[in-house]
Amino acid sequence: VSERADIRDVRNDVRGFFVTLRCRGCGESFERYLRTLAGLALGEYACPACRQVQRMEPEAFLDAVRRAFAEVDAETACALADAAAGIAERWHRAPELAELLSHRGVALGPPTERELHALFLRGLQRGGGGDPG
């Protein structure tokens, strides 16, 4: 028997979304990769502590997305994307990191840009420099 999922938080990365769920049985919080089908958040998620199963519903996930991420207009969206991209492309070029971030002559920083962009975007969307919430 599954209970409706109690979604406490949502985070994004380059693969998709991760949800933090709170078990309605024992109160344990745990994070899982969100499963979707045809774009709808679905699936069952077992609590790692008591194995009670929670059932994801698309509408509950959308409510959680609305809570976790403020709506932004197109201009703000572009500014956020620009800022996150700039950081992803810049941080690894610091002279102090040049030798550390290389292997057999290959610079290892530039290949990380796409994956880290999503992370910096999340940090900025949640009020860069502030409480991650």
């Binding site: 774009g39 994801m56 550390l100 610079a107």
Partner: protein, 458 residues
């Protein structure tokens, strides 16, 4: 070191077997990294070597040593204000909010690159490696391999897996910026976008899509009645195929995208109800949606049950779910509704089916030349009715004649031959790798304005 070798990395679709077979017949030795392609090649009797044969003997110890080097080095470097200051932006510094995931993700990204570079070196020591062929070139491992291959004087070729759209907002390291030395693109439309973004024309090769060749074969012209029966549908009633998509979290528009999936399902239900013949609705999820989640068969079955349950509770008229039967699903359909800019648009046109295009969040790659365009979900009933009429009044034939030659080069089902010839040329002539990629082109202001207007309506 006798036969020149070609490494196929992240090329996994079994539809590439004819391509690898041609490469092998041309006297090159294919080395294959992706297990599903290796399995298909073995079944087809195509000689190849496995990428896993070249794992260095001391890999784990080497990685452990690098892990410690990164850990110590990062701890030292991030104690310096100038390193942390590189994360400043006019919207703030995101590092405090994402410090833990940043370092844990960074270490994983670095170690995966080190492992791949060492393995490539091992391969290059043992074989006469002439070319690196990639299924895409935007992941950290793919890019590390391109960088190391370039240093070794080995060129690289990316097989495009779609028509890369003009970006709505800047994404670091996105596909619109070529990383591999060459890319084999589907058609003129894809090439024009890459050139408009400032990529070097000599690196963008027009070939067509090898994975679409099978759609031109007689076997793919499955009669509609048979396709309907395979999906358990009534051939006497109209069929609408909805090709859905999913949302990843890498772009700034993900919030809007995530919210639209449910809305689209409800809009489809209204469109079906509004049509006098009540078409049967088939939903086809994006194939990568399940692949990227790395689910077991039981997990997929559970997800399908959950989807059916949700549809039943919300009066969603889904008659069938299409997971593996792409050609049957398209050939059964009288109209194909596509949720985003997707290769399935060209696939439907090749298979002679009209398309309804739901405007994507990125600037459009596809438009009125390809199908009926929908900007707002409440336009869907009228658009569906129009698309269902397209086949009968000759519009579809005109669209196909106009759109397909620029979507799939030559529109002849012979892209495999052209890609194989390109691979042979690059591998046999000792083509020199290109210079590292230049800075990305900035999106055009006019484009941004147009997209801003589009987003207001969503």
């Amino acid at each position: 070191l006798s036969r020149p070798a070609v490494l196929f990395f992240d090329v996994g679709d079994a539809g590439f077997v004819p391509l690898v077979d041609r490469v092998a017949r041309a006297g090159l030795l294919p080395v294959v990294q992706h297990a599903s392609l290796a399995h298909a090649l073995a079944a087809a009797g195509v000689e190849h070597r496995a990428w896993d044969d070249f794992v260095p003997a001391e890999r784990d110890a080497a990685l452990a040593s690098e892990y410690l080097r990164f850990l110590d080095g990062l701890a030292d470097a991030f104690a310096r204000p100038e390193v942390v200051g590189a994360f400043d932006s006019r919207l703030g510094n995101p590092l405090p909010a994402v410090k833990e995931p940043f370092f844990s993700l960074l270490l994983v990204l670095l170690l995966r690159q080190v492992a791949a570079i060492d393995q490539l070196d091992r391969l290059a020591e043992q074989l006469d490696l002439r070319l690196l062929v990639l299924g895409s070139d935007n992941s950290h491992v793919q890019r590390a391999l391109v960088g190391r291959a370039r240093a070794l004087g080995i060129p690289s070729l990316q097989l495009a897996h779609g028509i890369y759209p003009m970006p709505f907002a800047r994404k670091a390291g996105e596909m619109d910026r070529l990383y591999a030395d060459h890319v084999a693109v589907f058609g003129k439309r894809a090439r024009d976008i890459l050139l408009e973004l400032g990529n070097d024309p000599d690196r963008v090769q027009l070939t067509g899509s090898p994975l679409w060749d099978a759609l031109y074969e007689e076997a793919a012209r499955m009669p509609r009645d048979r396709a309907c029966r395979e999906l358990g549908l009534d051939p006497a009633r109209p069929v609408v195929l909805l090709c859905a998509t999913y949302t990843d979290g890498s772009c700034v528009e993900f919030r809007r995208k995530a919210l639209r999936h449910v809305g689209l399902h409800h809009a489809m239900a209204r469109a079906i109800a509004a049509h006098p013949e009540r078409p049967q609705l088939v939903v086809r999820p994006h194939p990568n949606e399940i692949k990227r989640a790395d689910l077991s068969q039981d997990d997929v079955a559970e997800l399908v049950r959950a989807y059916a349950h949700w549809c039943a509770l919300r009066d969603q008229p889904v008659a069938a779910l299409s997971l593996d039967d792409r050609i049957a699903a398209i050939r059964a359909a009288d109209a194909v509704v596509v949720e985003s800019s997707s290769t399935v648009i060209a696939e439907a046109l090749i298979l002679e089916r009209p398309v309804v295009l739901l405007r994507a969040f990125d600037p459009p790659v596809y438009g009125e030349a390809d199908g009926v365009v929908v900007c707002e979900l409440d336009e869907l009933p009228a658009a569906l009715a129009r698309a269902l009429g397209d086949a009968s009044d000759g519009k579809l034939a005109r669209r196909r004649a106009r759109a397909l030659p620029e979507l799939n080069h030559q529109n002849d089902g012979r892209a495999t031959e052209r890609v194989a010839a390109l691979i042979e040329r690059l591998a046999q002539t000792g083509a020199q790798p290109s210079a590292p990629p230049a800075a990305p082109a900035a999106p055009r202001d006019a484009l941004r304005t147009a997209v801003s207007e589009l987003l207001r309506g969503v």
